[in-house]
């Protein structure tokens, strides 16, 4: 009865704004409003009527919202935010939960004033407005972007988001960079191009020209709509399968050259030690997988459990994901959700009956080049103990305790 009073419709059939804001939406407003600042707000427990079928619901609005009972959020710092992979059921990352990693924050760019300059070793240096870019033939592909530094460890109470939440997936749309390069006419001796972002960091990276001719996209669309500011609005470079940092956001300049530029982002950063030497220009993201269910902080019960997770490779399609439920002694092929796309998060599932004994579950992926995801020990053996934090893709293990608790297993390697 109380719910009926709170939500009643007046004689004109309209629901007043006050009634709306006094209802469930009031609870919904707080977490969403906090998104504008990233500030932590006190959470208000959501409430629902005891019998929702006795209560007139909320009419459609211009924009939909999440349930007040769902509060997926990124873990955000001053420079990055991490996707809540353990909350996801499939491979699209909602655009407002896509990971971020910025070097001078998110710039505010007027799309009418946006320009992309392409110059250097070209016949005809040209500036393209956003309208120009959209006028060229467009291309759409669903693929992941992963930060090269997507690796954290150290304690048992870590979620997939905390361990490797710097990977996300969108349906991207834009113009192939090769289309633009044919417009400007690239010199035969060109070997590299510089991509420069329009943020206050003026982030720059050198990219081999082959990637431009292969599958590089100047993307202006993300998950159906305009790309989000945090992902490079109004246009970004998209290099499918290559480390996130090279997918330069807010792209404003491409300079064609016959050599790399050795920018800050490819010398002091985004390099890593391999047996005492420093590896640079390691573009492709290696194949990787993680079980996202069950994972910390989820609880499981004895009986049938569908183990679920994502696998991906920067070198092409995932061909196999194996799951072990006995700490790696035996392995079972997981089911891959169709369609399996190249350079894309691929959802895998494996049905398993848990007998209630403590065990360790883990996954490993094989990609179409035959590459198999390594253990941390294999990575250390190959690169030396001073592995740094870039391009780390070790197998991730979860411990399932007898009480159903799931904990990350951060292996020792030194």
């Amino acid at each position: 009865m109380e719910e009926n009073k709170e939500n009643k419709v007046d004689k004109t059939g309209k629901i007043s704004r006050r009634q709306l804001l006094g209802g469930a939406l009031a609870a919904a407003v707080l977490p969403v409003a906090s998104s504008f600042t990233g500030l932590v707000q006190e959470e208000v427990p959501p409430v629902a009527p005891a019998d929702p079928t006795k209560v007139q619901g909320i009419p459609p609005g211009k924009i939909g919202t999440r349930s007040p009972f769902e509060n997926p959020a990124r873990k955000a710092s001053d420079i990055s935010s991490r996707s809540p992979l353990q909350d996801f059921y499939s491979t699209i990352t909602p655009s407002d939960l896509h990971f971020e990693r910025h070097h001078a924050g998110i710039p505010n760019i007027d799309p009418e004033k946006y320009e992309l300059l392409i110059h250097g070793m070209v016949d005809r240096p040209m500036k393209f407005s956003l309208a120009d870019l959209k006028r060229f033939p467009a291309f759409t592909r669903t693929c992941f972007i992963e930060c090269a530094g997507n690796f954290r460890r150290g304690k048992a109470e870590m979620t997939p988001q905390e361990i490797l939440g710097l990977t996300s997936q969108s349906e991207w749309t834009g113009v192939m960079l090769s289309t633009l390069l044919r417009e400007v006419g690239v010199h035969p001796k060109a070997k590299w191009f510089l991509a420069e972002g329009g943020d206050a960091a003026l982030l720059t990276r050198s990219i081999p020209i082959e990637k431009a001719w292969d599958d590089a996209i100047i993307a202006y669309g993300q998950n159906g709509e305009a790309i989000r500011p945090a992902q490079g609005y109004p246009a970004r470079l998209l290099l499918p399968g290559w480390e996130g940092n090279t997918n330069v956001k807010w792209l404003r300049r491409i300079e064609i050259s016959d050599q790399p530029y050795f920018t800050r982002e490819e010398t002091s950063k985004y390099t890593y030690p391999v047996n005492g030497k420093i590896r640079m220009f390691s573009f492709e993201m290696d194949a990787r997988s993680i079980i996202t269910y069950p994972s910390y902080p989820q609880q499981v019960q004895r009986g049938w459990i569908e183990i679920r997770g994502i696998a991906w490779s920067g070198r092409g399609k995932v061909t196999k994901v194996e799951v072990s439920t006995d700490a790696g002694k035996t392995w079972n092929d997981a089911n891959l959700q169709e369609p399996v796309l190249s350079k894309a998060h691929t959802y895998f599932r494996h049905l398993w009956q848990w007998n209630g004994a403590e065990t360790e579950i883990l996954s490993r992926v094989t990609d179409e080049t035959g590459y198999i995801q390594p253990t941390l020990k294999q990575l250390v053996d190959a690169r030396g103990a001073d592995i740094g934090g870039y391009h780390m893709n070790p197998i991730t293990s979860w411990i399932i305790k007898r009480n159903g608790q799931v904990l990350f297993k951060p292996e020792k390697y030194k």
Copy 2:
């Protein structure tokens, strides 16, 4: 200089909340805040710094937002809202822009209290909690949902959203209904099932049991995350390719039977006249396509134009989309964006050089059953002049004026 002052970082490297709210985000807040009520608010023109590279950007937050320069919104009435198809670049509909059609608004449901009852002609009537549903093997598919009444016309100044904005597409995840039916044990003589929604309308539809064994899903995931309240949170029936109304939202009861129930929603509504008789139980959505670019209210320029749009069929895959740029005299095969999925919006593109003369552009789709999208005249010839508004999928034409204006061509048929 002014921008620098407005956005300056203090000595600790932090940006104050006041500075944030005083910047571009203030402009962004208004249109988003209006989403909670659907009320029309005065629009504030967004502003951006003259040189964004001279201004520290906004740090990552828990949730991302749209650019203040982008304001896609649904056209909303008291009972429905329509997806802005002309603003989309590809096939995923952002969840907050998915169309809605409700019969008693959006209920507010506590997921902990949610239950799905399956009973009737079964061996073991059972109630499933949301946690129960999630424990079963899961399945993901990307498909469209289209309202059976998705057809408006009448004037030249109509957008794709206004004409047929009651179709949207998501990546859905849930448990196959067939999995649950094996749990409860369906009697051999069962022929139909009733699906009942948990809103105040208690919307009910009768569905042939074959659809349950084929590809029906109880969906709890949408575009990666939990399904949105407006799309049936915490779980809905998903009948790929079948009219929207049968995809019962907030699903709370399934009753197995040997006959249909002749509910209000399948007798007084969701039926249509065919040559003087009334057609009921017309479940499959017929193949349809529309050019979304160029369309009203867009403007085009003489020269190369990539004609773009979506095509779909409730009976399987789109096999061909043809585009005519001369009012239907000649047709050209458009490119279909891969992967082409069954019962899914499929993006098509066709490059065309416009000579500046007034013309008429249109598209028609063929699906894997060989069905070809009809003209309005063909529909009227087949069904009689009193065609009503359900299951109307005529070819949609746009007139391009010499000044580049694009107008809908609402054909006469009576």
